[in-house]
């Protein structure tokens, strides 16, 4: 069974005011097939955790480790981590002018698998995944994320998730900015991917509502750069009713 293990992860970023520590010792273990929700107030470091796992150069790891089945991810480049089985669905996917979605998807699939997928079955698979996400076929030929609405960008992220079949996926506020219909469509995509591959999911969210559609096995409350409390799905319900206030007393948000 695959395991993604985060131990004592400490991460800083450079700001105009100097180096700022964001993650202050994060411990998390995610097993294959498990869904872990990370909830927390703005500025608690949730997105930093996502980007640090993926290897964004802006975030400096000061200490700790992230291992996938025992292999240290922090020593690997961004693309090596992806090929090892990590996936990050981004909150603000960038546009790549002049590169068609079809070309991008095929290039990524080839990179992840180490060989180009057979063309016929690949096209079928892309078509099926797109229709599952109610994406028009025109999105194949459009440039990556260019001119996509917020919701279309999120669907495109989940399309990649379904096609690239990672071992572990980090979803960074995939629910933010979606109306309820889009939220359902995106959630169904995540559930399909889980069912198809048995991947583990780290679901980062500010709100409880996506957890109605993507059921978490564990909920972690993230405050001031580390996990302040953890529990089962009932913790999310409690947070929805009570808010984050009780965690914030005596701690500095940052």
């Amino acid at each position: 069974m695959s395991v993604l293990k985060i131990e004592d992860l400490q991460v800083s970023v450079e700001t105009e005011q100097g180096t700022k520590q964001i993650l202050r010792g994060v411990d998390l273990t995610i097993g294959q097939g498990e869904t872990h929700a990370i909830m927390g107030p703005n500025g608690s470091g949730k997105s930093t955790l996502a980007y640090a796992i993926a290897g964004h150069p802006k975030y400096h790891v000061e200490g700790g480790s992230v291992t996938l089945d025992g292999e240290e991810m922090l020593d690997l480049s961004v693309d090596e981590r992806a090929r090892a089985g990590l996936f990050l669905a981004m909150q603000y996917p960038v546009e790549i002018p002049g590169v068609s979605n079809a070309n991008f998807l095929r290039t990524a699939k080839t990179a992840i698998d180490g060989a180009a997928p057979p063309i016929r079955s690949w096209l079928k698979e892309v078509d099926a995944a797109m229709s599952g996400l109610r994406m028009d076929k025109s999105f194949r030929e459009r440039n990556v994320n260019e001119g996509f609405s917020g919701g279309e960008k999120k669907r495109n992220e989940i399309l990649q998730l379904e096609l690239l079949k990672p071992k572990f996926a980090v979803l960074d506020e995939t629910d933010s900015g979606l109306d309820v219909d889009a939220l359902k469509i995106v959630s169904e995509g995540v559930n399909r991917a889980k069912e198809a591959t048995g991947m583990g999911v780290l679901l980062i969210t500010h709100y409880n509502r996506i957890l109605r559609y993507v059921k978490p096995d564990f909920v972690h409350v993230f405050v001031a750069g580390k996990v302040a409390e953890q529990g089962g799905p009932e913790l999310a319900v409690r947070l929805e009713n009570e808010g984050y206030d009780r965690f914030l007393e005596g701690s500095t948000v940052g």
Binding site: A54, S77, V78, D79, A82, V99, F104, A108, A111, N143
Partner: protein, 380 residues
């Protein structure tokens, strides 16, 4: 023809710049003139000031239905119908040529015509090409340049009423080639010119197209693509002259630069004259700088002499590689090298897709790919 402007009096409007076929009307080039200030003068001095061999040079082409290619005398009445030189090298070339290469497009539509020019050699030379599209004809003329060159030339383009003409000029010269080219276009009523400059090879290459929209409804789509490596200098100064009413222009140039000393210059002039009511114009230039030590100059100019227009806009940007794009692609398993290639290819694809000849588009894509691979080798 106006005499040479007195020294040190700046030309106030683009249309008042001196135009003359006589080299003596232009003062010797010092490098202080705006039109010469970026050019590596030592590399081009023999073209502005030296004697040029103006005899015809061999070229290759295949017979294409609806087109005719022949040498005509420089004294032919049609020569000079699209414009006159505006700099000393162009005037030097104009007065040096014995024969003019005439290309006539008369088909409705004509077959694609490719004229391959690869026998100029390294001695200083002058050349003159006259492309004419007969009224209501349509066609695509590709001027493909290869090999050695020390060449000053003028290319005239006359687009008859209602004609649809595409002219593509591809510079894939040898590394030490020098090429100064002025294109003059005259676009007739309801006619369209699509003009594409592709510069990939040569030491110093300058292609300056001046396009005059002289009849109502005339339009120009002006595109450019350049990829400068270490030590290469590429310049282009598109000038769009809206003279008549309801004329339309779109100018879009994109360049990539890689390596120490790579230098590109784009100066885009758009003049909307007093009688050009209903003009619709937009020009832009975008540069992608791929490494340290490269320099891109980008200068858009817009002169408007009538208030009654549909639109006039310009944009210019010169940027480094977007790290967020790289991160995004790499986070999907794509290696950094391949991600860079994808982004640059995508950046330039917008222009390549406009060429209008599938075979040439494919070949230019491959050539850009080769540039990228070579550039990676340099970067190590």
């Amino acid at each position: 023809m106006s005499p040479a402007a007195p020294a040190l009096v700046p030309v106030q409007t683009r249309s008042e710049r001196l135009a003359s076929a006589s080299v003596d009307d232009f003062a010797p080039v010092t490098g202080l003139e705006f039109e010469w200030k970026f050019v590596p003068l030592a590399a081009v001095k023999h073209l502005t000031d030296g004697a040029l061999d103006g005899s015809p040079t061999a070229f290759g082409y295949t017979e294409s239905a609806g087109t005719a290619v022949e040498w005509i005398d420089a004294s032919d009445a049609r020569v000079g119908s699209a414009g006159l030189p505006e700099d000393r090298a162009a005037a030097n070339a104009w007065s040096s040529v014995e024969k003019v290469l005439s290309i006539v497009v008369s088909g409705e539509p004509a077959e694609e015509l490719v004229v391959t020019r690869s026998h100029f050699g390294s001695a200083p030379r002058a050349a003159h090409v006259l492309v004419e599209a007969r009224p209501h004809s349509s066609g695509i003329v590709i001027l493909q340049q290869n090999g050695a060159a020390n060449l000053a030339e003028n290319v005239e383009i006359v687009v008859g009423d209602g004609a649809q003409l595409t002219v593509v000029t591809v510079q894939e010269w040898d590394d030490d080639a020098v090429h100064l080219s002025n294109h003059f276009a005259r676009v007739g009523r309801d006619a369209n010119l699509r003009h594409v400059i592709v510069s990939l090879g040569g030491r110093a290459v300058r292609v300056n197209p001046s396009v005059h929209l002289v009849e109502q409804g005339a339009s120009i789509d002006s595109f450019g693509l350049y990829f400068a490596d270490s030590g290469q200098y590429f310049e282009q100064r598109p000038y769009i002259d809206h003279q008549a009413a309801n004329t339309r222009s779109r100018v879009n140039y994109k360049g990539a630069l890689q390596g120490a000393g790579a230098h590109t210059v784009w100066v885009g002039d758009v003049l909307i004259g007093p009688h050009a009511d209903g003009t619709d114009s937009y020009e832009q230039n975008r540069n992608l700088v791929l490494s340290e030590g490269a320099r891109a100059d980008s200068i858009p100019n817009l002169e408007i002499e009538t208030g009654n227009i549909v639109g006039a806009g310009h944009a210019s940007s010169t940027g480094r590689f977007d790290d967020e794009q790289l991160f995004y692609l790499q986070s999907r398993g794509i290696t950094e090298e391949e991600a860079r290639r994808l982004v640059v290819r995508g950046f330039l694809a917008e222009i390549i897709q406009q060429i209008g000849s599938p075979a040439l588009e494919e070949r230019i894509s491959a050539a850009v790919e080769a540039e990228l691979v070579a550039a990676e080798g340099v970067r190590g």
